[in-house]
């Protein structure tokens, strides 16, 4: 694996983690990266990483709500409970969906498996 491939993996994992800033800071120590890429990661603005992390989650949330009427209804009647479940879902299920329908399907499968919606 090239170091750019390793970087891509680390960044993908960081933005699925509950704390992308801490995950990117840890990635800056990864032995699979050369000194230049490690320094670049270490220099990433912490608040900027936090903001990018929030926007990644927001975009995934919007994709799900667009694709799933059930998710939208759940959010409508219990926003805080839905938000907690969605955070768990984001951490446990890799964001591989290309659109709202696939995201809705992945979320429904996760709910069925974990009972998160019961």
């Amino acid at each position: 694996m090239s170091e750019l491939e390793r970087l891509e993996e680390l960044v993908a994992e960081a933005f699925q983690s509950p704390d992308p800033r801490a995950a990117l800071a840890a990635a800056a120590e990864d032995p699979g990266l050369g000194a230049d890429l490690r320094a670049r990661l270490a220099g990433a603005a912490p608040d900027g990483v936090r903001m990018a992390g929030l926007l990644v989650v927001k975009l995934r949330f919007e994709r799900l709500i667009q694709g799933s009427r059930a998710a939208g209804e759940w959010f409508g009647r219990d926003a805080a409970g839905f938000a907690r479940a969605f955070r768990r879902y984001h951490g446990e299920v890799a964001p591989r969906a290309e659109g709202p329908v696939q995201e809705a399907h992945a979320f429904a499968e996760w709910c069925a498996r974990t009972g998160a919606d019961r």
Partner: protein, 305 residues
Amino acid sequence: MTEPPAIGFTLQPEERMLELLGALLREEPDYYELAPETAWRPMPPDAQDGAPLEPNRYHAVFRALRAETGKPFVAHGVGWSPGSVRRDPERDRRWLERIRADHAAFAFRWYTDHLGVAELAGFNLTLPLPLPMTAEMSVIARASLAPLQRIVPDVGLENSVFYYHLGDPLDEPTFLRSVLHAPRTHLLLDLHNVFTTALNAGFEPERYLAALPLERVIEIHVSGGADSDPAWLPAGRTLRLDGHDSAVPEEVWALLEDVLPRCPNLRGVTLERMEGTVDEADVPLLREELRRARLIARGARRAHV
């Protein structure tokens, strides 16, 4: 620049917005900008391998608008992810097939996407994230444009908004220059992105613009945004967001007036607005913004000639 650049407006897949802007869309812009993916039907979860991407109902709406007005289209994608190191060949094949069909339907004058990576190691993060601005990455981003260029001869990248950087943000103009040096590869200069990044990262936007290959600029974007919610970041800090959800700020108009005369190959200035952000009261503002862009474009031509 012998003719003033044309003035464009983004089309969004939203019924209410298209209805509210019906007259404006027909009267004001010279061309339309379309994110092709927004006119595709999402792949069903049980899709067979090799299943094609199909157009959604807005595809027909936009085709009808083209037939009615005769106005040209440009494509501005959001998901090609030019910085992906390991591309998914099956995804690329489906996308290129769909883009080829869209180009047949819309005759795109050019096709651009965003600098950055949104598809990483099979994860679709949707938001373009920053790249390490290295020679190796420049080769990867450049190579990603080649298959698009076999469909639409003029292609390019937009300077995206990034909320953090893997290096000095002021290295980006040089990086863009290295990515966009092949014939008919262009820069889409998004001035709100420059303004936003400069504000968040703490540099003067003019320094960034001065280092760009302005002779490569084919299109300029203007749009608006807002500050983030103070509850989002520690200590109540806010960052400016590129939301395309409000009026173009005066600072961005000033950047447009400044930079436009220095872009000799510029062909269009596009006003961008996101779906879900237009109400009845916004319609006169959008009309005024399109007219202001046209006035600036005409003034720049006179100044240049």
